[in-house]
């Protein structure tokens, strides 16, 4: 019976992963073959990738996306680390309030966020009406809950309040203890949540399209424009994006492993 249920288990999980991976595998096939009219595709070609990699717009949209990722994630991390200091060291009762504030962006996704932001700031005529600035601001909001969750979990994992107390008793001021003792110990956890947040920014289309559009074309906007021109080329872009994001996700998983081990040990 044990063997039968193991067999059942294997089949079940293979089905689930097929369901999840099939779209991607088919896209991969599309991007590598020129025709697929029969059961099997034929006409293997790397032309789609050649075209893509020789397109300067592709590279600049990748570069823009990376800048967007880096700036918004770093900004959010800095603001949140300061906010968490306030919560841990000054007033623990604010934690509930902070949690509500950081959940709000779950409700402020995609279309809503972009409309709200444009409708407020675009007419002001100040530096705030700069579309690029708006986009950075929007992404900062978008990644907030993910990074907040990551920082919170890391702080709980090291029982940060006791560490802070231990450092204080040893003659270290509160803020200094936070910088020198707490932050070095949560860095790897924060890095993981940052990577996750990067993959969210990387995957965004709505904000980039609605707020910046042609002014600052990110990789998803680039993809969306190309998909109507050539399905083979679009497939190649999808494969590249997927590979990059999978790489990021893989790094996250690899980094998470030792953490789990330490908890058990």
């Amino acid at each position: 019976m044990n063997r039968r249920s193991r067999l059942f288990a294997g089949i079940f999980l293979i089905l689930v992963s097929c369901y999840l991976l099939l779209p991607f595998l088919m896209t991969l096939v599309y991007s590598l073959f020129s025709e697929w009219t029969d059961i099997l595709p034929h006409g293997f070609t790397l032309r789609n990738y050649g075209n893509l990699f020789s397109d300067p717009e592709f590279w600049s949209s990748i570069a823009r996306t990376l800048v967007l990722c880096a700036v918004s994630v770093l900004l959010t991390i800095t603001v949140l680390l300061l906010a968490m200091y306030v919560i841990i060291a000054v007033n623990r009762n604010l934690r509930g309030f902070m949690q509500i504030v950081c959940m709000i962006p779950y409700a402020l996704q995609g279309v809503i966020l972009s409309i709200s932001i444009i409708s407020i700031y675009s007419g002001t005529g100040t530096f705030l009406s700069n579309r690029l600035l708006m986009l950075f601001g929007a992404y900062t909001i978008l990644v907030l809950p993910y990074i907040y969750q990551g920082i919170c979990n890391s702080l709980n994992a090291i029982s940060s309040e006791t560490l802070l107390e231990a450092a204080q008793v040893l003659g270290c001021g509160k803020f200094r203890a936070y910088l020198q003792v707490i932050i070095p110990n949560i860095l790897s956890g924060v890095f993981i949540s940052a990577l996750l947040a990067e993959s969210i920014v990387f995957g965004d289309f709505v904000l980039a399209n609605n707020i910046a559009g042609n002014n600052y074309q990110n990789i998803q906007v680039f993809l969306n424009r190309r998909m109507f021109k050539s399905s083979g080329l679009a497939s190649a872009i999808v494969v590249v994006i997927f590979a990059v994001v999978l790489l990021i996700t893989g790094m996250v998983l690899k980094l998470q492993k030792p953490q789990t081990g330490r908890e058990n040990g």
């Binding site: 029982s159 008793v169 040893l170």
Partner: protein, 343 residues
């Protein structure tokens, strides 16, 4: 003169009063244990002294100075926590040297003092190890070294051994006691384990519901409890109603008193001994259980059950059902007011 002094200290969390107008003092160089069941306020007292909690009312003095409003980092106090709380990203050396670095000690002096502290807790060879690779006992020794290397005015230990295995705990109790003697540091030790308090302390402060129930040397608190609570918490006293004991022994005990008798003060024998100043009762062995190096007999004397402890030696072995004489020295029959539990 007292080195640490609590004057009328009150601590409330919301509506709950955790420390209730507490006044007590500690002499320089003593190892004082705050003993009591969980939730009695002993850890809170320690945290108030360390500056990790603010007191609601009252004053705390250390070495003649009012430290009630000083921040934790300026009190010059060493503290060891129950959960080790080592810095995970620093190795043993860096953990121990952290406080000295904060004080801006010269690097050479740091190196020397850290080396001495490592030797004191017998962790030579582990200097470069990280906390995650150490056992619980080793981590707690690092935490101890990290506290004493600062040469604090007072060392606070907040149930430091309660997460550690029974065998290891006993050897660490011994080590802490030795380090205390070696350095002469004034030390306050918090525990809920009465055996641990007996082994470790110069003085015991027995806590009960935010107040001090009894204070004294381990031997005085153990041999002369002032209340039913103290007798119940400090040992496994036989507690017998005064009227019942009068009937059994022929001694004259007022019925409003309880009689408390430690099980190890009673001697067992097959023959009547007729010793001076003792009362003798006849009872039947119910059973015996080995507890460490002591055998505990339960005996039935008329309607009352007595517990008697004897050393685990071959000539002390009696069988269940045997009829024996219990010899109890009269000075070991302590009288305690029944109502004293609420004191």
């Amino acid at each position: 003169m007292s080195y640490i002094e609590f004057r009328n200290v009150v601590k409330r969390f919301g509506d709950a009063t955790v420390l209730d107008h507490l006044t007590f003092s500690v002499r320089q160089g003593d190892l004082v244990t705050l003993l009591g069941p969980s939730g009695c306020g002993k850890s809170t007292l320690l945290r108030c002294l360390a500056g990790l909690e603010t007191v609601t009312e009252g004053k705390i003095f250390l070495d003649g100075t009012d430290i009630t409003d000083l921040p934790s980092s300026s009190r010059n106090i060493g503290m060891v926590f129950q959960q080790y709380s080592l810095f995970p990203n620093m190795n043993v050396e860096q953990n121990i040297g952290f406080g000295l670095k904060m004080e801006k000690c010269p690097p050479d002096e740091i190196r020397g003092r850290v080396r001495d502290a490592v030797a004191l807790v017998e962790l030579e060879g582990k200097e470069k190890a990280y906390p995650a690779s150490l056992s619980g006992g080793q981590q707690q020794r690092v935490a101890l070294a990290r506290a004493v290397v600062m040469r604090p005015k007072v060392l606070l230990l907040d149930e430091p051994l309660s997460a550690i295995d029974a065998k290891l705990r006993k050897s660490l109790q011994q080590r802490i006691r030795e380090i205390h003697k070696e350095l002469g540091l004034t030390t306050i030790f918090v525990t809920h384990d009465q055996d641990e308090a007996m082994v470790m302390s110069d003085m015991i402060q027995l806590f009960h519901a935010g107040r001090i129930e009894q204070a004294g040397t381990p031997i005085s608190v153990y041999t002369a409890p002032v209340s039913v609570f103290a007798a119940g918490f400090m040992g496994s006293y036989n507690q017998i109603d005064g009227a019942v004991f009068s009937r059994l022994s022929g001694m004259q005990i007022p019925p409003e008193d309880m009689v408390a008798i430690r099980p190890e003060t009673i001697s067992l024998s097959r023959e009547k001994t007729a010793q001076q100043g003792c009362c003798e009762l006849s009872g039947t062995v119910l059973d015996s259980t080995p507890r460490g190096n002591v055998l505990r007999y339960r005996l039935q004397v008329e309607d009352t059950e007595f517990r008697v402890d004897v050393l685990f030696r071959s000539f002390h072995l009696f069988q269940a059902g045997e009829r024996l004489w219990l010899t109890i020295p009269e000075r070991d029959c302590l009288r305690i007011l029944k109502g004293a539990e609420t004191a």
